[in-house]
């Protein structure tokens, strides 16, 4: 294969300088973090940039901390760092487990959460889980800082909604309360997930009633898809959830606008959503999980 085309690497001292560089280089430049997706696309000449702005040069973007009922994960934290973070493992174990299954051990060592979200590869895990968990993204540009909902950040397949001078600095994830349970499951036969499903249930004190639910399916639409109609269907007595889950799966599948593609038929993906939603609910409702 051809070597990578020539580019220069720039090391901003802080976020302000990174924003200036992004604005200055425009379409000829982009942020560079782990490179586990960007460099592959450049290697195949699908993307061309003359300037890579190494955001790892900005100190502190890889921090992980719990504050004000949220876990703040810096955009520069690698999948491996998140997977092994004591804070994430204790307060958001579903996120640690999801990260432990992202790609492979080499990608997890170099790839970052921020890079993953900004690259917006549809066949990916973190965005789907973060959408169901109610995570938000923090971005900073020349005009200041702002917060975006996860579905605002993801604009389409391989597209984020950040303006050209903005840097994703991290995500904030609400720490699930004592009555909340979360699960993320995926189906995968090759190197990328074929379908990912995240479910968060809020239960009553003795676990007999599902008070509220959030669910999202990933990999089958340009961006992960959440369905409030499906979530409303899931709420109700835990013991008789089977039929409601099937209806919810159908509703979620309808909303995701499934299509036939090389990953499988729409019918097959609909079936997988049903299976994974049922299994995810089983995990959430199992007191031993």
């Amino acid at each position: 294969m051809m070597p990578l085309r020539r580019f220069a690497i720039h090391r901003p001292a802080d976020l302000g300088e990174a924003a200036e560089m992004l604005d200055h280089y425009g379409d000829t430049g982009t942020l560079y973090a782990g490179g586990t997706e960007l460099l592959l696309a450049m290697r195949h000449d699908l993307l061309r940039y003359e300037h890579l702005i190494d955001i790892k040069a900005v100190a502190g973007l890889d921090s992980i901390e719990a504050r004000d009922g949220h876990i703040h994960i810096g955009a520069g934290a690698t999948h491996r760092t998140i997977e092994r973070s004591p804070v994430v493992r204790e307060l958001l174990p579903v996120m640690a487990r999801m990260e432990a299954e992202v790609a492979n051990v080499r990608v997890r060592a170099a790839g970052t959460l921020g890079g993953n979200l900004c690259f917006a590869e549809p066949h990916s895990d973190p965005a789907t889980l973060l959408l169901a968990l109610g995570g938000t993204a923090r971005a900073q540009g020349k005009g200041g800082e702002r917060t975006l909902a996860m579905d605002e950040l993801l604009a389409g397949a391989y597209e984020n909604s950040l303006s050209r001078d903005e840097v994703l600095t991290g995500v904030n994830v609400p720490v699930p309360g004592p009555t909340q349970r979360a699960a993320y499951l995926k189906f995968q036969v090759h190197e990328r997930p074929l379908l990912g499903l995240a479910l968060v249930l809020d239960l009553n004190e003795d676990g007999s009633e599902i008070r509220a639910a959030r669910c999202a399916v990933g990999c089958v639409s340009p961006t992960p898809c959440r369905s409030e109609a499906a979530e409303r269907l899931i709420a109700g007595p835990a013991a008789a959830a089977g039929e409601r889950l099937q209806q919810a799966a159908d509703t979620l599948a309808d909303e995701a606008a499934l299509t036939d593609d090389r990953e499988g038929s729409a019918e097959y993906k609909r079936h997988l959503i049903g299976v994974l939603l049922r299994r995810a609910a089983g995990k959430c409702l199992d007191a031993n999980e």
Partner: protein, 166 residues
């Protein structure tokens, strides 16, 4: 700007226990520097999309895909390639020896990556379960062995290394 030749950067890092300095361009990958500049051809190039693991080397003890990992990232860090694994007395590292003893390779193309990935595992988790071995090695592909002898070799290497630690 587009035709300007990027400045060469002098890259200094520790390679297999020795300090090296090499001039390279920013877009050069670690495997290009290792294979074409330093004549270390143990890291094999295959998929070039970080899926197969044939190009695995360790940077500060962690496995990376050197085919699409910029050499720039190695500056000031500790790089281990398969050429650096043998012991000071030129005997093989226990993982290498166990791969031989357990017939854990046939054509050998994936083997350097397999062994380095296994080293990263055993350095971090000296007594892994079979499930942990399989989970860790999931991103290293082999088209000869069917993987069973590889898992066996790593399990055996863990035992040999444990005994050596006493």
């Amino acid at each position: 700007m587009s035709n300007a030749k990027p400045a060469l950067v002098e890259l200094r890092f520790e390679l297999n226990g020795k300090d090296v300095a090499v001039e390279c361009e920013p877009q050069q990958t670690l495997s290009e520097v290792l294979r074409n500049r330093l004549n270390l051809t143990g890291a094999k190039i295959s998929c070039e999309v970080q899926v197969c693991g044939a190009c695995t080397v360790l940077v500060d003890g962690l496995p990376v895909s050197s085919c699409t990992y910029l050499a720039y990232e190695a500056r000031g860090r500790r790089v281990t390639s398969i050429e650096g694994l043998e012991n000071a007395d030129r005997t093989l590292h226990p993982i290498q020896q166990c791969f031989i003893d357990e017939f854990a390779f046939q054509c050998g193309f994936c083997t350097p990556g397999m062994i380095l990935s296994a080293k990263a595992l055993l350095d971090d988790n000296p007594e892994p379960t079979d499930d942990e071995i399989i989970h860790h090695m999931d991103g290293n592909l082999c088209r000869c062995t069917g993987y069973v002898p590889i898992v066996k070799a790593i399990r055996k290497a863990a035992a040999v290394m444990k005994e050596a630690r006493g």
